[in-house]
């Protein structure tokens, strides 16, 4: 282990470490903490210009309540869910199938497909922008949740296929070989043998795609327009307009909008790390 386990260090070092850690975290999260403190302030504090000092009273429920009831926040939040969940499901389904094909079968185009998916992950969005937007306009999918879902699912498929492929390759191949000898069909092998074994990577893919799509801003602003479809990331700036000079409410709204992926991260950290590094560690 590097550095040396702190338990073996002299007491002074241990004491310093225990002091250093919280200080570092506080400095690290300072911008966020400042916004949080703003989000629980009263209107009076904001008008008086007391924006960074200690709040004169803590109005956590009033402020967050106001965001939920006095603005379009909830409807945009639901729009985001409406886009994010189907995208994640679709991408995971398509990618698992493809990952299975690439991991188990040696097909001629396998290497090419793998490489294209790998590279596709990293292309700048701008190179896709004009054609994808025109395609959406021509097919009537512009400004619909379906349009965004299809695009996100397609784009995330590359990344997810890599994860699925790498994970399935680590499975004991004898299992599949035996099943084949017993006359089990390819579809049954996939459904009955492979799928149950790759639950962890399915979870990892789900939460990663969920997070990526939830946080997307570029496509949200490029492919949607109306309030009925715009997800929360694209709408948060217009909330700024609805809450003019009510700084505390905009802060509260922003923090709420960022919350779901953060909660997922804290609950499923293991899957997060596994997903991000399994996709990456192969390089």
């Amino acid at each position: 282990m590097f550095p040396k386990p702190i338990e073996h260090a002299p007491p002074v070092t241990r004491y310093l470490y225990n002091l250093l850690l919280p200080v570092c975290v506080i400095v690290w999260l300072l911008p966020l903490l400042a916004v949080f403190v703003t989000s629980v302030r009263s209107q009076a504090d904001i008008t008086r210009g007391n924006i960074m000092g200690w709040p004169s009273e803590i109005q956590i429920f009033q402020n967050y309540g106001a965001v939920l009831t006095e603005s379009d926040f909830v409807s945009h939040f639901l729009n985001t869910i409406n886009i994010t969940v189907p995208s994640a499901l679709l991408a995971v389904c398509i990618a698992t199938l493809a990952g299975y094909a690439l991991a188990i079968h040696r097909i001629r185009i396998g290497a090419t497909v793998f490489l294209l998916f790998l590279a596709g992950n990293f292309v700048p969005f701008q190179i896709l922008l004009v054609p994808v937007r025109n395609l959406a306009l021509e097919t009537g999918l512009y400004d619909t949740a379906t349009g965004l879902v299809l695009f996100h699912a397609a784009f995330q498929t590359g990344f997810c296929t890599l994860l699925a492929r790498n994970f399935i390759r680590e499975l004991p191949f004898e299992l599949i070989e035996t099943a084949r000898l017993d006359g089990v069909g390819e579809r049954q092998i996939f459904l009955r043998i492979v799928l149950p074994l790759i639950k962890p990577v399915l979870a990892a893919m789900m939460i990663l795609v969920f997070t990526f799509v939830w946080n997307d801003f570029f496509w949200a602003t490029s492919l949607t327009q109306s309030n009925d479809t715009r997800p929360i990331t694209a709408a948060i700036q217009s909330l700024n307009g609805q809450f003019v000079s009510r700084h505390h409410l905009v802060s509260a709204a922003s923090l709420l909008a960022a919350l779901p992926p953060v909660i997922l991260f804290f609950l499923m950290q293991k899957h997060f790390t596994a997903g991000l590094t399994l996709g990456a560690s192969k390089g």
């Binding site: 550095p3 975290v25 097909i107 896709l128 490029s222 960022a258």
Partner: protein, 316 residues
């Protein structure tokens, strides 16, 4: 189903593939692959090709498919115009600045990873607290840092006041704005790198470290000669995602500055959007040309990665 040998393993798979009876199974594999290849081709590959194509057209108010409103083929003139465009020069400069300064995420991330690579109780919580900015939406990061920097009521302004100086408008000064933006971008990027490095630290070879310790190596020397070489793979991944992240920077610029003041914080990705789609531009051909430049920059970085992957797959 098929008459293949009992033996398994990767080498064996190769022969399974070559033996005649397994052909139908491979045909089935294409069915498994088909949906992914289809959506990916239509929504990722085709758009790339199409963008390159329209970068040779003057698309102002034109529709490439309709006969009535023909786009005009202009050859390389979009690219030639870019070379003369001062806004393009600023964008390229800033993109390179992002690229270089973003690399600070690597040592910073390694530092955090080393700090929290402990098993003491409670350290897991600190780990999560260091890592989670990475999952916060860039939009929210942008808003957070905009307020943080505000000279009148932001925390940075307050700190400056305490020191008795007039706080600078970080996002309002052409000389400072890019550094302000990059610092905001570094916050989640460093968290990401820390996560990558921590995983790398967990996979270190204990024997080598113990042997080096017996040889009295410690601290910086141990890190430099024993640990870092073992972290090469992690460093490479961190470099790749950071480079791509720098080239992709867009959200923060839209949220925090809109390319201002006076266009001094434009980067290629922002400039492209501005030209092609924003309220200031409908020049899709010109925008596409900018996108192609950005794409080529990305592919340069990626080609190193692809080359490495091919090598490791070949060894496999």
């Amino acid at each position: 189903m098929t008459n293949v040998s009992m033996a398994a393993g990767r080498a064996e798979r190769q022969t399974v593939f070559r033996s005649f009876p397994s052909v139908p199974r491979n045909v089935k594999a294409y069915f498994f692959l088909a949906p992914a290849v289809m959506v990916f081709s239509v929504l990722v590959l085709y758009p790339i090709a199409h963008s390159i194509w329209i970068s040779f057209f003057d698309m102002t108010g034109a529709d490439l498919f309709s006969a009535s409103n023909k786009a005009e083929w202009v050859g390389l003139s979009n690219y030639l115009e870019l070379l003369e465009d001062p806004r393009f020069h600023v964008s390229v400069q800033n993109t390179l600045l992002w690229f270089c300064l973003f690399m600070l995420a690597l040592p910073a991330g390694l530092g955090i990873a080393l700090l929290v690579n402990q098993t003491a109780p409670g350290v897991w919580l600190y780990r999560s607290l260091f890592f989670f900015p990475f999952v916060i939406s860039q939009v929210v990061v942008g808003l957070i840092f905009t307020w943080f920097y505000d000279p009148r009521f932001g925390l940075v302004g307050k700190l400056w006041d305490r020191m008795g100086a007039t706080p600078p408008a970080i996002l309002g000064e052409p000389g400072l704005v890019n550094f302000g933006l990059i610092a905001a971008g570094l916050w989640p990027q460093t968290a990401f790198c820390a996560l990558i490095y921590l995983t790398g630290l967990c996979n270190l070879s204990q024997d080598q470290i113990e042997a080096a310790r017996l040889d009295n190596a410690k601290g910086w020397k141990l890190l430099r000669y024993i640990i870092l070489p073992q972290l090469r793979s992690a460093t490479f991944i961190a470099f790749l995602v950071t480079a791509i992240g720098a080239l992709r920077s867009y959200d923060l610029i839209v949220i925090m500055t809109d390319g201002g003041p006076y266009g001094s914080s434009r980067v290629l990705s922002y400039f492209m959007y501005e030209q092609a789609l924003s309220e200031y531009g409908t020049r899709q051909g010109y925008g596409a040309a900018i996108a192609v430049v950005l794409f080529l920059l990305t592919m340069t970085v990626l080609s190193i990665f692809i080359w490495r992957t091919l090598k490791s797959e070949a060894e496999d």
